[in-house]
C-alpha cells in the first residue's frame, strides 16, 4: 500500500458548533414532518381515487 493511503487525516474535519447542530436538527425534523405529510396525502388521495388513481383527465 502506498504511503499516501496510509496517512491519517491531520484535521478533525467539520466540527459543528452547538448552534449549527441545533439548526441541523430543526431542518431534519422539518424534512421528516414534510415527508410524513406527503406520504399521508398520497395515501389519502389513493384511497379516494381508488383503482383509477393514475387516471389523469385533461
Amino acid at each position: 500500500m502506498s504511503l499516501v493511503m496510509d496517512q491519517q487525516p491531520t484535521e478533525p474535519g467539520i466540527v459543528l458548533t452547538a448552534e449549527q447542530k441545533r439548526r441541523r436538527r430543526g431542518r431534519s425534523i422539518a424534512i421528516a414532518l414534510a415527508l410524513a405529510v406527503f406520504v399521508a396525502l398520497i395515501f389519502a388521495v389513493t384511497l379516494v381515487k381508488g383503482p383509477g388513481v393514475m387516471m389523469r383527465p385533461l
Binding site: S2, L3, V4, Q7, T10, E11, G13, I14, L16, E19, Q20, R23, R24, G26, R27, I29, A30, L41, I42, A44, V45, L47, V48, K49, V53, M54, R56, P57, L58
Partner: protein, 325 residues
C-alpha cells in the same frame, strides 16, 4: 506482469489541508421564509375560491391535495425569486433580512429548494388531479420566476402590471383543478386580481420609491414620477371597480357579492382619487391607507364569493340572469 513500471512516478501527495464546505446556518424557519408564507396564504385563499365557485363536486381530499400543490408551487416561485433577487433585497431595508441576503441560506441552497419544490408540486398536481391545472401551475411559476423576476422587474416600469398576471392565475388553477377546464368565472377572477395589482403595488412603490431607486429597480414612481404613478393608479382603480362587479352583472355571483363589490370598488376609487388630488408632501398616509384598503378589498371580495356559496345565495338577486350559462 508488473502492474507498475519501474520508471513510473508516484502522483504528488494530496495537500494536507482540505477545503470543507461551510456548514449551513439555515434553520427550518429560513426555508419557510423563502416560500413567502404571506404571499402563499393569499394564493391558497384565491385558489380555494376558484375551486369553490367552480361547478360540480370536487372531493374535499382531492381539493386539499390540489391546494397543497398550489401552495408549494407558490412557495417554489417565492424561493426562486429570493434566489435571483438577493442583490436587490440586500439594499432594501424591507427585504435585507431575508434568508439569502442575510447569509443564513446560500444562493445555491435557495435555488435547489425552489427547483425541487416546483418539480414536486407540478408533477404531483398533474399525476393526481389533472394535467391542465399542472400546466397552469408550471406556467405561473415560470412566469413569476423567469418572466417577472429575471426580466420585467429590472427592465420596465410596467413590471408589476404584466407580472401581476402571475398573482392572478391561482383562482384559475383552482378552477381548472376542480373542473379540468377554464370557465368565464375563472377568467373574471383572474381579471379582478390583474387590475387590482397596479394600485396595490404602486401604493407600496410610492412609499418605497427611494429604496427602489437605490436598488436600481425601475418602478413607475422612480422612472415616471409620483404624479404619473398616481394618475395610472386612478385609471386602474376606475377599471377595477366595474371588473370587480362583473361576476354579479354576468350572473356568476349573487346580490351580496354585488353589494360588497360596489362598495369596495367605490372605496378603492375614492382613495385613489384622494391620492391623485392630495399634495405630494401629504401623500404618504393616503398611500398607506390605499395599500391597506386594497388588501381588505380583495380579501372581502373573494370571501363574499365563498360565503355566498356556503349559504347557497349565489343565484339570489342577479340583475340580468346568467348571461353566460
Amino acid at each position: 506482469m508488473a502492474l507498475v513500471s519501474e520508471t513510473a512516478e508516484l502522483a504528488a501527495p494530496l495537500p494536507g489541508t482540505v477545503a470543507y464546505a461551510e456548514p449551513s446556518m439555515a434553520g427550518a424557519g429560513d426555508y419557510l421564509a423563502l416560500m413567502k408564507p404571506r404571499v402563499m396564504s393569499l394564493v391558497v385563499f384565491t385558489a380555494l375560491v376558484g375551486m369553490v365557485v367552480a361547478p360540480g363536486h370536487f372531493h374535499p381530499v382531492l381539493a386539499f391535495f390540489a391546494l397543497t400543490c398550489i401552495a408549494v408551487g407558490a412557495g417554489a416561485a417565492g424561493a426562486l425569486n429570493m434566489w435571483y433577487d438577493a442583490d436587490i433585497d440586500a439594499v432594501m431595508t424591507r427585504t435585507a433580512q431575508r434568508p439569502v441576503p442575510a447569509g443564513r441560506v446560500k444562493p445555491g441552497e435557495a435555488l435547489a429548494f425552489g427547483l425541487v419544490l416546483a418539480g414536486f408540486s407540478i408533477v404531483f398536481l398533474g399525476l393526481m388531479i389533472n394535467v391542465l391545472a399542472a400546466g397552469l401551475l408550471a406556467f405561473t411559476i415560470f412566469f413569476y420566476a423567469v418572466v417577472y423576476t429575471m426580466w420585467l422587474k429590472r427592465w420596465t416600469p410596467q413590471n408589476i402590471v404584466i407580472g401581476g398576471a402571475a398573482g392572478a392565475f391561482p383562482p384559475m388553477i383552482g378552477w381548472a383543478a376542480a373542473t379540468g377546464g377554464i370557465g368565464l368565472e375563472s377568467i373574471l377572477l383572474f381579471l379582478i386580481i390583474f387590475f387590482w395589482t397596479p394600485p396595490h403595488f404602486w401604493a407600496l412603490g410610492l412609499l418605497r420609491a427611494g429604496e427602489y431607486a437605490r436598488a436600481g429597480v425601475p418602478m413607475l414612481p422612480v422612472v415616471a414620477g409620483v404624479a404619473e404613478t398616481r394618475r395610472q393608479m386612478l385609471l386602474y382603480s376606475l377599471v377595477l371597480g366595474p371588473v370587480g362587479v362583473s361576476p354579479w352583472l354576468l350572473g356568476t355571483a349573487g346580490l351580496a357579492y354585488g353589494v360588497v363589490a360596489i362598495l369596495g370598488g367605490a372605496a378603492m376609487l375614492a382613495l385613489a382619487f384622494q391620492l391623485y388630488r392630495v399634495p405630494e408632501q401629504a401623500m404618504e398616509p393616503v398611500a398607506k391607507r390605499l395599500f391597506g384598503i386594497s388588501i381588505v378589498y380583495l380579501f372581502v371580495l373573494f370571501a363574499a364569493l365563498l360565503v355566498e356559496r356556503a349559504l347557497g345565495l349565489q343565484h339570489f338577486g342577479i340583475p340580468f340572469g346568467r348571461v353566460f350559462a
